[in-house]
Symmetry: D2
């Protein structure tokens, strides 16, 4: 079974999870053409990954590029001190992307908040956009009076195909043509492979937003190829398929039992020996015809969305404007 197909089956938008799947959960396993390092501090795990070759890309099912993932298991606890730390850490990682892409302090940036205002777990993009420190109009209307330490930032929430009738990608293409930014930052809600990732993980990638990713199943992506300028994608898993919850949980059950017994065969039979993809396939075969394979989200999603959107907006405001201090990133958001 090719990793491409497994990709499709597992339905994750996170490169980190894609790599885990490709190495069958062996986190320490290396894949030729894929470099990665992991750092752990104060409840935040930062994984920096670079897919360097076509072979690596093939294996993981992701495009060549840089991927950074922040994992913060406690992020759903509503702890504002931790949130500030994550915003600062996010800003620092994000600045490395700007540097690598040659984005200097005078380059202009368009922030695109993908998703649907009226569907809470899909509203990440629009909520972030609401909290962005927008400055482009000051540069246009009174360039002499803009304080040093700010760059041109604009921000739009283009809506979703179902409510606008137009592909988000086409709307953004039009706005790029008239407003001519040097860089696009696109923010989107994602589907994850496991419930514990929901609203605790942030991914940054210089490959943009790819077709078919995200909650809304875009047919076109937001990439440098399409838009003509570099695109940094920021994603947060906010939903999980019921089938992947089942599959993921069964994995945990099997692992749990292995600690207690040498031979789990009598316990789980053939089912316990299936590989992840086969098992998921079986679960989906059962749930799909019943229309039960819903995308679900935690009950407390309203509060979770607000918190993580503030973290991202704070982090972006600090990373984009030198005059906005990473010590004080939260002050500019709602």
């Amino acid at each position: 079974m090719t990793s491409d197909l497994s990709m499709y089956n597992i339905r994750t938008d996170l490169a980190l999870e894609a790599k885990e799947i490709a190495t069958e959960g062996q986190q320490s396993a290396t894949i030729p053409g894929v470099w990665s390092e992991t750092e752990n501090a104060e409840g935040i795990t930062v994984t920096r990954m670079e897919i360097q070759t076509e072979q690596g890309a093939q294996q993981i099912g992701r495009m060549i590029g840089h991927y950074v993932t922040l994992e913060v298991p406690e992020l759903r606890q509503g702890d504002t001190t931790l949130q500030d730390k994550v915003a600062t850490s996010f800003a620092k990682e994000f600045e490395a992307f700007l540097k690598r892409l040659g984005i200097n302090t005078t380059s202009s940036v368009l922030i695109v908040g993908l998703g649907n205002w009226n569907v809470t777990p899909d509203a990440l993009g629009p909520i972030v956009v609401e909290n962005i420190l927008v400055t482009r109009h000051y540069f246009e209307l009174m360039p002499d009076q803009v304080s040093p330490g700010y760059r041109q930032v604009s921000a739009v929430a283009p809506g979703v195909l179902g409510t606008t009738g137009i592909e988000s990608s086409d709307i953004v293409q039009g706005i790029v043509a008239t407003s001519k930014p040097d860089l696009i930052i696109a923010i989107d809600a994602l589907a994850a492979k496991s419930l514990e990732r929901v609203n605790t993980t942030i991914q940054i990638a210089d490959t943009g937003i790819n077709p078919g990713s995200g909650i809304g199943n875009k047919r076109k992506g937001l990439t440098k190829e399409i838009l003509g300028v570099p695109v940094i994608g920021i994603g947060v898993p906010t939903v999980v398929y019921a089938s992947t919850i089942v599959n993921n949980t069964m994995d945990l059950v099997f692992e749990h039992m292995k600690k207690h017994t040498n031979n789990t065969d009598p316990l789980f039979g053939v089912f316990g020996k299936m590989d992840e993809t086969e098992r998921l396939q079986l679960v989906k075969e059962v749930l799909n015809p019943l229309g039960h394979d819903l995308l679900v989200t935690p009950k407390e999603i309203d509060k979770f969305m607000e918190d993580i959107a503030n973290v991202i907006a704070s982090g972006l405001n600090a990373a984009l404007h030198e005059a906005v201090d990473t010590d004080n990133v939260a002050a500019y958001t709602h």
Copy 2:
């Protein structure tokens, strides 16, 4: 294993599901002291159940009383024609409750919308209250001018313990003491045993709202014993535990496989032969320590809540006021 314990483990607030569990899924099985009938029309399944004896109550783990459940699998499709039908059907069933309780056309009613405005799947009560045709103040301020065909209706959303610091039950008790209604109707969001029930099922019960039920884990209930007047409870499942999704799905997988093979033992081993409660226990043992046993809700919960709250408010407006026609129930809601 007693049904009481299984009740606790399965975590359902629906009497219908409690009965299913007690009969181990054999829907046609009868339980002494429990009467029930089921009717099917136009996509709506109505099950009327009466727990008549202490023995029946014990067996099912519910109080003696009447329970009506409307199951409408297609209710999440956003079909306004179906929604109107459900509102009419709901109003008809509800009127039978009024009759049985001896509530006549001049009896006054207080509608209590339990739950939390700011947590979408817990906002059922507050949203229903917003769409109720409130009339009590007209009777108080200008009794001569109220048209015939209306009764005194008031409506409050008392908030939840976490945001008010006061038990909802205590707040309602105070309001009952000063406003003196003849009947209380309490609306609450529930947890269900399976994802397909979420926002497709409505339960009416003359046993009120019981301690520990609903999403917010109330410590006190809203019952005739506590409030001194009859209480009709209306509940809609809006969330499911991750563990019950897993368990429910595994059941479906086992059933599915049984159709294809005579002996599923080699397929699922011991696991496949566990009873539902044991299996759920195992799943919870694995998920709980990881903090993974979240209550989840479908991605589209915002729209689903609005739709079903409108159905209930329309139905109540029609059932409570003779002047409001069941043919036109939707006109009075938002």
Copy 3:
């Protein structure tokens, strides 16, 4: 004093009020090059106006074109029957615009909801857009399966300069370039000359949206010249300047007193004899330095906005799609 200047001073976005000012309130007065007729039925006053010549345009301070105004003084009463009548009447008038512009049943339409989601009286455009029956994506994705009686409709809410950093006009220009509609319908909240107009008046004009009009003081307009396709503008006054409330009220006071006395000179002195523009100038001279000349809106604006936005969305849905009946226009809105 030229009418242009007075235009600026009186600060109205309604052509009807501009004409009233030009004729100094004499509604029956004719202006060369300006044709108009008024019709009254069921609480709705429809005024159709055509500015036919440059001279007429100069006099009124508006561009050559067609203007239709619906005045419905009772529209703020929340009467849903009246709202349905207004939606139907609006649809009928709107269809005449489509006809005159040669827009046939297969022409595609982009609806642009100008204004700011987060400022209630400026949210007209975004709320209308939310309630539009959008179809363009069906034509793109499955053209064979679209039922007859529908046209391609798309809808966007581009945000405002202060929150996006980009002129709405520039954003729309970009979207027009990529989505290529045959007609644009732009909806905007306006400032009116008197409080009784607020949320009771709807203006349709084939001159589009002009620079400096609307609440947000756009620097660029949405017109055929700029966008390359015809633009129909729909506007509703939702705010009034404090100074114009004062001025308008003083007018009413003077008129009121004239009914009771032959000579109002001793009553109001020089002030009573000033013309409207001079008086307004005086009021503004006093209020402006104090920062008191705020734009204000009625206390009940949340409800008023929702009602009139539904009227416009219903009317547009009926006017644009043959399959949507004007008898049933409300069914497609939220």
Copy 4:
């Protein structure tokens, strides 16, 4: 004309304005039985007033008691530094009220947010309640584990007569009976005499909330007499009658002209010599029959409400809990 009648005519809920009217605008004038002092610092004017005798109460048309008013003309500018200063200043003034009423650090407090969620300028109470640090349930459920420096605080938003069918006062009476607080703090939106007061002024009074005050024209008040425990009322003007805008503006016009000419008689005739009450009467006579005497609010009311509600919630959290520092009052609000 007695001051009582003028009270009614001028329609202000602020004691400060009532005193101004009683002294015909002479701020330095003293009224027997009314003590007051004014302090000015950092853009905040604090006026402390005590109505000490029945005679003073008669003259001003307010009950005997303490009134503190914070006037902050720049509060609508969205300056968070100023907002923090106002919260701190408010907390300090509020603590003096607690002291005077003998409320010690263990006394329990119920905060009542009057008004209507769905009418932006009337939503002050509900928004403040949302941002209150509620603790009563911790004292009830785990009294041993509450950290020192906190008191028992509960908070409810009882809704308005039009949406509940029950007088707010009756609902609160019931909640007081079951939850037994030592002090009630009631927050309400008010009508002011001038537009510049809207969302820039905060009044604290130990006389509670009086019948007929506030936006919703309550028929019953929230006072110690009715509820049995002391009530501190907090009010913010959020709306103004159109007629009072006109009257207030004409005053400013007259004053302005007096600076430029010795004799304003020819300028304004009899109208200019009317006293404030007569003139307002005339304006209202003209506007009322037309239904034009609306309550209005600034266009930017959504943002203004959020800002001032945060100031009050922050101030209350700091004043009520010793462990919440006035230097850091904002951290506990949304």
